[in-house]
Symmetry: C2
Subunit: 273 residues, 2 copies
C-alpha cells in the first residue's frame, strides 16, 4: 500500500504481459476520459488497433465495458458490481454512510470520507446538499496527503517511517497557504495527533477550509478519515471539530473499534459485506 499508485510498473522490464495489456484498456478510462471510442482506447492504452479491438470485445462481452448506440465505450455495470466488494471502497462507505448523513444533517456542509493509497488520499464518499457550494472533489479523486484535512489525519497516524519519508520528499504547492516546509508539516502532524483532528486552511483552494478526524478499524489502526469542507470566510473550527470527531468515532465503532482496545463480538466489518 505504500507504493506510489502512479509509479506502479505496467510490466516487469520486458514486453507487456497479457494481463498488463487487458488492464491497460481499463486504465485508459479516467475522470477526464469516462467515454472513449476504440481509437482513443488503442492510443491511450498503447496498443495496436487490432489488439485493442480484441480486448475491448472480451471486456464488453463480460460486462466490464458497455458500448452505447454511438459506438462509444463506457465502464460497465458488472465491473461496478465486482468493485462494490472493495473493503476500502463501497463496503467501507456502506458502513459509514449513516454517520456521514448525520454529520451532513448537523452541519449542512460538504462531508467527505477518504482512505490513503500510497502518498495520496482517495475520496470514497462525498455528500453535499443539492444546493451546496461546489467543491472540486469527486468520488474517486486523489490529492496529496499534506494538502487536505483527510490527508493530514491519515498521514499523522501512518507508520513513523512512512511519515518521515513523506516529509522528506518534495511537497507540492497548490495555494500560497499549502504547507511545503517539512519541519512545519511535522509540527502540524504532532498537533493533529494531540487534538484528534486536522485542519487544512486554504491549502487546496484559497477559499476553502476542511476539518478532518481519523476513523479506526477493528484492530485500532487508522483506516480512513472523515471531513467537513466549508468556505474559509465562514469557518468556525471550534464548532466543527467535535462534530467531525463524533462522526469519525461513530464510524469507527460501526467497524468494530472500541476505545479501550476491546473488540465487540460481531462488530460490523467492512469486508464482511
Amino acid at each position: 500500500m505504500n507504493a506510489l499508485p502512479h509509479s506502479r510498473p505496467r510490466s516487469r522490464g520486458g514486453a507487456p504481459t497479457a494481463p498488463d495489456r487487458l488492464l491497460s484498456v481499463l486504465a485508459a478510462f479516467d475522470h477526464e476520459h469516462p467515454a472513449l471510442c476504440l481509437t482513443d482506447i488503442s492510443r491511450r492504452a498503447g496498443l495496436s488497433l487490432t489488439t485493442a479491438h480484441r480486448l475491448v470485445a472480451a471486456l464488453t462481452e463480460w460486462g466490464a465495458l458497455e458500448r452505447d448506440e454511438s459506438g462509444v465505450y463506457h465502464v460497465g455495470l458488472r465491473l461496478w458490481e465486482v468493485a462494490a466488494l472493495a473493503p476500502r471502497g463501497l463496503a467501507l462507505r456502506q458502513v459509514a454512510l449513516p454517520y456521514l448523513e448525520d454529520l451532513y444533517e448537523a452541519t449542512h456542509e460538504n462531508v467527505q470520507l477518504a482512505v490513503r493509497d500510497g502518498d495520496e488520499v482517495v475520496y470514497i464518499e462525498w455528500l453535499s446538499g443539492r444546493s451546496a457550494v461546489g467543491v472540486h472533489i469527486r468520488v474517486g479523486a486523489r490529492w496529496p496527503l499534506h494538502a487536505t484535512g483527510v490527508g493530514l489525519a491519515l498521514l499523522a497516524h501512518g507508520d513513523p517511517e512512512f511519515q518521515q519519508a513523506y516529509c522528506a520528499a518534495p511537497l507540492a504547492s497548490f495555494t500560497p497557504y499549502t504547507i511545503t516546509d517539512p519541519s512545519r508539516l511535522r509540527r502540524v502532524l504532532a498537533e493533529v495527533r494531540r487534538v484528534g483532528a486536522a485542519v487544512s486552511d486554504r491549502q487546496v483552494t484559497d477559499d476553502a477550509l476542511s476539518v478532518a478526524a481519523p476513523v479506526r478499524g477493528q484492530d485500532g489502526t487508522v483506516a480512513a478519515a472523515v471531513s467537513v469542507v466549508v468556505p474559509h470566510a465562514d469557518a468556525c473550527v471550534p464548532t466543527l471539530v467535535p462534530a467531525v470527531r463524533l462522526a469519525a468515532r461513530g464510524i469507527s465503532r460501526a467497524l468494530g473499534w472500541r476505545p479501550d482496545g476491546g473488540v465487540r463480538p460481531g462488530g460490523r466489518s467492512a469486508s464482511a459485506h
Copy 2:
C-alpha cells in the same frame, strides 16, 4: 444489454482466452465471497494454481486486488476507482443521491435506486437510517424484474418486444404473492404505465412492500428506477406514490430530462462525470 447476465459465455467455444482467464479471477469474488485465498481463487475461477498465482500477482500489482497481512485477497481500491466511472453505477448514483436523501428525509424508510441489466434489476444505491429495519438487499444485489417495485417500473417501460419475451418466460416465485401468471403481469405493467408508479406487495418477502417510479435520462428513455421499501403492515401506498414520483422526476431533471421532451442545455449527464 438484453442478454441475460448469467448466460454470458466465458469463451467462444474453445479454450478460455487470456482475457477470459483474467476476468474469471475477478468473477471469483462476490457478495458471499468478498475475501479469498489463492487456493479459493484458483478453484472458483477454474484455473491451475500456477496460472491463478500469476494472474493474481498481476492484478495485485495493478491494484485491482489487495492482499492483507493474513495473505487473503480483497477487491482493491484501484478497481473501485475505475468502476466509479460507470455511468450506470456510481456516476448515476452521484447525480441521484441528493434526491434519494430528500426522499429518505421525507419518509424515513429504506430508499433504493436500481437499473436494469438483462432480466434483472441491480441495486445502485440503498439508503437506510442507522436504526432502520433491515431489508435483505445490498448495493450490487440482483433480483428478477417481475418481483420488485423497481423491476416492474423498469420492465413496464422497456421495449415492447422485451416485455413480451419476459412475460412469456417462466416467472420465478419467492412468496405466495409473487406474480407468476403472465397475463396478470401484463395487466400490472399496463397499470404501472397508467399510474406512473409500481407497487410490489410482498413479492420478495412476505412482510415488505415497495413503491417505485421510473427515472428518465436526457433522451426520455427510462434509465433507472427509484423506490421506497416499507413493512407491508404499515404501508400507506397513496402517501408514498407522490413522494417516490417526485424523487424520480427530480433525478430525471438532474439527468437533463424535460417533461415536454426538450433538453436543457448543459443538463448534468451521468456519463459526463
